[in-house]
Symmetry: C2
Subunit: 220 residues, 2 copies
């Protein structure tokens, strides 16, 4: 799976003292073996944990956007950074290693100090959390729509906003069904009906919006 968090890619360098990072930074590094549960649901989250090498899995929504499956997280990426400052600062899920991993741990107080002294660090932290929030918001909007046609409409209108009324998706029908959290034949049926009604047209992965007005009516 490709890394969707480029803002953390150079973190390793930073933590090694490069890029003007303070040499007095307080941190610790923990190593874990394969198939270890390194965080449990409900564990206190009092430090910023960054997966430096290896990969772990959780049972949250995946980065693909797929529904409540197993999420694979590859280094380098922070683990649940948003929960460090939340009121109920506990891990929402179990985190299990898939191989040998290296986890950088920066205590909360130290994170606060770094934020105030290292603008780059702060920006990375903020941007990562902001992107995560945006991702969650989009998913939530999509899931809030109950009918399959409504989900399709929401998704296609979003795409149409970024591109024209004809665009190519990088998902096949099966992946799209997973993304929507519906069964594949059900999605196919809904698509067929929408084509039948002259609302859209589909050629393989190329989608064309024919009637934007009717598409919007499906959002309700």
């Amino acid at each position: 799976m490709k890394n969707i968090d480029p803002e953390w890619n150079n973190f390793r360098n930073i933590s090694n003292g490069g890029d003007g990072f303070p040499p007095d930074m307080q941190y610790s590094i923990k190593f874990h073996g394969k198939n270890e549960v390194i965080f449990r649901q409900g564990d206190l989250c009092d430090a910023l944990n960054i997966l430096m090498t290896g990969s772990v899995k959780t049972e949250m929504i995946t980065e693909n956007g797929n529904l409540l499956g197993i999420e694979i997280i590859n280094a380098p990426r922070p683990l649940a950074p948003a929960f460090l400052f939340s009121g109920n600062n506990r891990f929402p899920v179990d985190v299990t290693t898939l191989e040998e991993v290296e986890v950088l741990r920066i205590p909360k107080d130290e994170v606060i100090r770094l934020m105030t002294t290292q603008p780059d660090f702060m920006q990375q932290f903020l941007t990562h959390n902001a992107n995560r929030t945006q991702f969650l918001t989009n998913r939530l909007q999509l899931l809030s729509i109950k009918t399959i046609k409504g989900k399709i409409a929401h998704f296609l209108l979003e795409q149409a906003g970024e591109q024209g009324d004809t665009f190519t998706l990088n998902r096949n029908q099966t992946e799209l069904a997973d993304f929507f959290g519906v069964a594949r034949p059900s999605l196919a049926r809904s698509l067929s009906e929408m084509i039948e009604e002259g609302i859209i047209d589909v050629n393989k992965k190329e989608y064309t919006i024919l009637d934007k007005k009717k598409l919007r009516e499906l959002l309700v």
Copy 2:
């Protein structure tokens, strides 16, 4: 509606120069009349906008947790602060005033400066966004469960974790149905069946978990 963001309650004082806030803070205040659309979906979000007085509505998920209805936001609260630092920093929804409002606007650069110079400001900002993320995560988990019994199980097990196996909810059945995003009679039917099966017991707003094992099996 009660304010769920106490961390922003004293912001007015801070912005007035109290609490050691720098007198050179760059900001502007805008006033808007009733029923004005002050932000549109897709608008660039290049400043931290804080609703100082009045109330607005958006079409996001409500603070009650209810589904994709109209959210009423009362002052004082920031408007979509998470999007300030996100990659696609655009408003996800329209924001419409319900009465005369006062909006404090702090440019992004100034926010960054404040974050580095004012630890209190930074903590408030981080905590607010963290709580929002946690809220969204919980909602997403709940929505990812497709069956009504599954939602009930998830919700009750969460409650049971905080409290004992018998607890009192502050929602009636109608509100609970809204929270789950299902029809009220459907919820009642599912609850009846779960009582019939000896999994739970319900007396008005008091819920008792009788068979935690069976409850967990419903999560799949």
